[in-house]
């Protein structure tokens, strides 16, 4: 049962049909690989066959001589950002991006781009790649964190120093509160455990793709799949030297991103190939390339220590999180360091993160970057703590919930904490109250687990334009790629505020030339931020409508109100006039002063964090070690569900990604440092028959700092599942799992060890 607060609204909260829906169910929607251009040719990337090697020379002459080849690009063509000076674009350092897009001094992972070719057919381009002669000096490689931080580990980058010495530890992050030593001294019970997680891929079904046309006048047009057309423009500009004003980035429909498409791989390369060849160039990654060479999220090696009083009051928490950055710095340390203890009121906290490079593809953002692996460690330790103290695990969390006005270790002071509400929603849910038969059949054991999660959420820059058409309908343009239904939410808000029927509102995503700067689709910010700028734009439009009505009625605009889609006199004193509907005023726009429309550009503020609490039942086939999820309930405060279906969809999708992370997904490398499962057969994302229905308990506690009360939704749901499932497996088997995924061989191994011990 979903808890939806009844409202007076007609469209906000309504399950309307999404504006982009018909195109998507009929195959019309144009994704990045669906674009073609007259005269278009195909680009392909030559990738490193080695995990770690010095590139001594590259000879492209044979490739260039192959009939049909029109251009070849190497790192020489990409703008170099010297390693000694940081140049930031958002959270991305261009020193690393330029080396990620094309290997410069060294090939740093198997699959690292070395060169790229454009040719008249895809097959010719691939053939030409084979003709490029690269001389490598193969170096020893390192894959795992534990190996990379050893004193004698092969060093990836001499310029990276830790404690004064060349190191694979590229950076650290610390969050502190109180005095950690004092905190543990006050504790009656202390539990400390070490956890490991493997890198997992975002697993979007649409591989990265783009088509780029560079015209002789120096202007480039980019069609690509990304989580931000403005990011595509800026990063391509930085990496190619083409000014931003000369690049028009057109967002194609995006076939999933989950954070991964907040950086780019192909666009600058395709632009340079187009510039050299004089032809539009299309590049589409294969699945193998996506898995091998785009960023998964970090694997981790974490130690969490929590101390509590006998009554369950947590007094100290310490976390040490080593994260895999891949081959270049940039792990999402902020996730585990900041989020792990944030939901709890703990006086003494020390949280330290280490960014560790190794010979893997550079990580990219993945849904609540880094937070799930921190929560996995923390929420599993809390489960042990609850057991040791004899307190219900939800009750333990409830007792220690952070409160509004408190300062978190990561620095922020909470405006609104709704954590307790999510815990209570699960405590009161029939799922949590219902008995679970622990041994339904011989060889089958069942267990139940809970866990909570936190995500910061975000505001930031957004732009919107709301225009009335001459026939009295509404077109809204925003600047964020729509990954999961944000257009549907914006259509609801606009129809509601303007008092018009939903089908009279169109919502489109503008390109970089048609809408003002809008930051990435990420951080669970888009619905929050775009609803804010759209609301302000609509308010301006309503102001214009009132002025036009006032002009027609020859009264003061102050004496006009806008209600139910029409201007009306504010009261009897204003005069007696029949209402002027939006449609009437649009028809008279030219005679009353010109077109009606308004835009707003804003650095949005007021995004409060998201809290989630989950409960899961699992079933384990003990002899085979197979864990299946039987039932899953996820409660989350969403502020306000502008379109409940897509809010639920975010929660359901995030949970199932978490299930994959917990049970079956992992990056596997062979001894040569080559990814061994770069396909959907052996990189095991959950399929439809692996999972049950996911019940989303949508709590609507309005965010007071947003016009509709919206909070970010998309990321918090992937934070609790790892620990919730691990805790459920413990409940079933009486054994704790300190490393993910809980794959069948691992489960049987632990169970056989248990049998041997008993």
């Amino acid at each position: 049962m979903n808890v939806i607060t009844p409202t007076e609204n007609k469209w906000i909260g309504a399950r309307t049909v999404r504006p982009d829906g018909a195109d998507k169910v009929t195959g019309r929607a144009a994704y990045a690989a669906d674009t073609t251009m007259p005269g278009m040719i195909w680009g392909k990337v030559l990738r490193s066959p080695h995990a770690h090697a010095i590139i001594k020379s590259i000879d492209t002459s044979k490739a260039e001589a192959l009939p049909g080849v029109k251009a070849v690009v190497t790192a020489k063509d990409i703008v170099d950002f010297p390693v000694d000076k940081s140049v930031m674009l958002g959270i991305q350092d261009m020193r690393w991006m330029c080396r990620n897009v094309m290997a410069r001094e060294k090939a740093l992972f198997h699959g690292h781009p070395i060169a790229a070719v454009a040719a008249t057919t895809e097959a010719t381009a691939a053939e030409a790649c084979k003709l490029i002669e690269v001389e490598y000096e193969v170096l020893p490689h390192v894959i795992e964190i534990e190996d990379a931080i050893k004193p004698d580990a092969p060093i990836l980058h001499d310029f990276l120093k830790h404690e004064g010495k060349p190191s694979n530890i590229a950076g650290t992050m610390v969050a502190k509160l109180g005095d950690i030593e004092q905190g543990f001294a006050e504790a009656d019970v202390v539990i400390e455990r070490t956890f490991r997680t493997r890198p997992v891929h975002q697993g979007y079904i649409e591989p990265q793709a783009c088509t780029v046309s560079y015209a002789p006048d120096g202007r480039a047009t980019i069609w690509s799949s990304s989580q931000g057309q403005f990011m595509v423009r800026a990063m391509t500009s930085l990496l190619t030297g083409v000014p931003q004003s000369n690049i028009r980035a057109i967002p194609a429909e995006i076939g999933g991103g989950f954070g991964a498409k907040t950086i780019i791989y192909l666009e600058p390369v395709a632009l340079l190939l187009s510039k050299k060849s004089g032809r539009p160039v299309k590049m589409v990654m294969s699945r193998d390339e996506v898995m091998r060479a785009t960023g998964p999220t970090s694997g981790s090696f974490s130690t969490v220590k929590i101390g509590a009083k006998k009554d369950g009051t947590i007094v100290a928490a310490q976390g040490t999180f080593y994260l895999q950055a891949g081959c270049l710095p940039g792990s999402p340390l902020r996730g585990p360091v900041g989020c792990s203890f944030a939901p709890y009121a703990i006086p003494h906290v020390l949280s330290v993160g280490y960014d560790v490079v190794s010979n893997r593809s550079k990580v990219a953002a993945y849904r609540a970057p880094g937070a799930p692996l921190g929560a996995y460690a923390t929420e599993c330790v809390l489960d042990e703590l609850a057991e040791k103290l004899g307190i219900d695990p939800l009750e333990l969390r409830h007792r220690n919930s952070a409160k509004t006005g408190m300062k978190a270790a990561y620095g922020a002071t909470f405006n609104q904490v709704t954590f307790e509400e999510t815990i209570e929603a699960i405590q009161n849910h029939e799922h949590y109250k219902s008995p679970l038969e622990k041994n339904p059949r011989p060889g089958i054991k069942r267990g139940r687990g809970v866990a909570s999660g936190f995500w910061y959420n975000a505001g930031g820059e957004s732009s919107a334009q709301v225009n009335l058409t001459e026939d009295g309908n509404v077109v809204v343009t925003t600047g964020h790629p729509d990954v999961g239904g944000s257009r549907a939410s914006i259509a609801n808000v606009t129809a509601e505020l303007l008092g018009v029927e939903h089908d009279r509102v169109s919502v489109i995503i503008g390109d970089t030339a048609s809408i003002g700067f809008s930051n990435l689709t990420g951080g669970s910010r888009v619905t929050f931020a775009s609803a804010m700028v759209v609301t302000q734009s609509v308010e301006k439009v309503i102001g214009q409508l009132k002025e036009r009505a006032a002009k027609i009625w020859k009264i003061d605009p102050e004496a006009v109100i806008y209600e139910n889609g029409a201007c009306r006199p504010a009261g009897p004193n204003a005069g007696q006039f029949p209402p002027l509907a939006l449609k009437d005023l649009a028809a008279k726009a030219n005679e009353t002063g010109g077109p009606i429309g308004a835009g707003v550009q804003l650095n949005t503020q007021g995004a409060d964090p998201g809290f989630a609490t989950h409960v899961v039942d699992v079933e384990v086939d003990v002899d085979l070690g197979i864990v299946r999820v039987l039932r899953y309930t996820a409660a989350q405060d969403v502020g306000r569900a502008l379109h409940p279906s897509y809010v639920e969809g975010q929660i359901q999708g995030g949970v199932v990604q978490g299930i994959g992370w917990a049970l079956s997904e992992e990056y596997l490398y062979d001894r040569q440092g080559r990814l061994d499962n770069a396909n959907f057969l052996d990189y095991r994302m959950p399929v439809c028959s692996d999972v049950p229905m996911i019940e989303a308990v949508v709590l609507e506690i309005p965010n007071p700092r947003h016009p509709q009360g919206v909070k970010g939704v998309g990321e918090a749901p992937i934070v609790p599942p790892l620990a919730a499932i691990a805790n459920a497996v413990y409940d079933a088997l009486g054994r704790r799992f300190y490393s993910l995924p809980m794959s069948p061989p691992k489960v049987t191994e632990v169970m056989d060890m248990k049998l041997a011990a008993e």
């Binding site: 085979l624 197979i626 049970l663 959907f680 057969l681 399929v687 028959s689 794959s743 061989p745 191994e749």
Partner: protein, 293 residues
């Protein structure tokens, strides 16, 4: 780039001569195309680059399912899993073989993938092979020197290799007539519920009379370079009432027969353990289907 030829002969004779000629030619290897669900993936990955592709699906004999008057079944090598599934009789007589064939890939893959391709692809983990071995299937092959038959377990020679000689094409599987009181079953272990390659596959075929096993065959997949016929496991079952001791003896025989590798899909220890677990579970289903009489 090498020129690729696509041929779709209508007779086996034409297919065999084209195959033999192409294999002898300098233009590179020739490949038989049945369902294509392995071949196209290998071509895309660059693992194979055939000079000639010979599509055998236009040949009647390799796409037919025939129930013979004596009760045996002849299944064309290129019959798709979905077609076999739709046959009104086959699944009633050989439910274990059918469930194995129907586990080769997704519903989409089922529309194309064939038991012949599954066998000739010679993966140690092909799902249909252990069930076919348990069923006692005999394959018919045709080559430049005519036809021959051999037991299905004699076809795989190692990962990716078969014992077929140059120019030979797999034509069909013949599954023998069933005595009364027979049942077969196939189970595999995969981490997900679908879309995985077997970590271990086990086929069991039993005939029972008076509560005792009178005949048994056991096939195991993914535990050795080739799918195995585990005769010791069958011996342990024959004469028993499928009591725990007999099942444990057969499971032990399965474990002993294992010679697996550690790879991304499973460890040696895990595969060995699971072979025994699956034997017991598969035998129980087969016995149920045999009527346990």
């Amino acid at each position: 780039m090498t020129e690729i030829r696509y041929l779709a002969p209508r007779t086996l004779e034409d297919a065999v001569s084209a195959f033999a000629a192409a294999q002898g030619a300098a233009s590179g290897t020739a490949r038989i195309l049945a369902g294509g669900t392995d071949l196209l993936v290998q071509m895309r990955a660059g693992v194979v680059q055939p000079g000639t592709i010979i599509d055998i699906k236009k040949i009647e004999e390799v796409t037919a399912i025939t129930e013979q008057p004596d009760g045996s079944f002849v299944i064309g090598a290129a019959v798709s899993g979905a077609t076999l599934h739709d046959h009104p009789r086959f699944g009633k007589v050989w439910p274990g073989v059918l469930e194995a064939v129907n586990l080769i890939g997704s519903k989409q893959v089922q529309g194309r993938a064939s038991p012949g391709g599954n066998l000739c692809n010679a993966s140690p983990a092909g799902d249909s092979v252990p069930a076919m071995i348990a069923a006692g299937a005999v394959v018919t092959v045709q080559g430049p020197n005519g036809r021959r038959t051999l037991p299905v377990e004699k076809v795989p020679a190692g990962p990716g290799r078969t014992t077929l000689t140059p120019g030979e094409i797999l034509v069909s599987f013949t599954l023998p007539a069933r005595p009364a009181g027979s049942g077969d079953a196939y189970l595999r272990m995969i981490p997900r519920t679908e879309m995985d390659i077997a970590v271990v596959g086990c086929g069991v075929n039993l005939t029972m009379a008076g509560g005792k096993v009178t005949a048994a065959r056991v096939g195991l997949g993914a535990v050795a370079p080739v799918p195995l016929l585990v005769e010791d496991a069958a011996k342990a079952l024959i004469g028993s009432t499928l009591d725990e001791a007999a099942l444990e003896a057969a499971a032990a025989a399965c474990r002993a027969a294992c010679n697996p590798i550690n790879d991304k899909r499973g460890t040696i220890a895990y595969r060995t353990k699971v072979a025994g677990v699956l034997l017991k579970r598969t035998a129980a289903i087969a016995a149920e289907r045999a009527g346990r009489k």
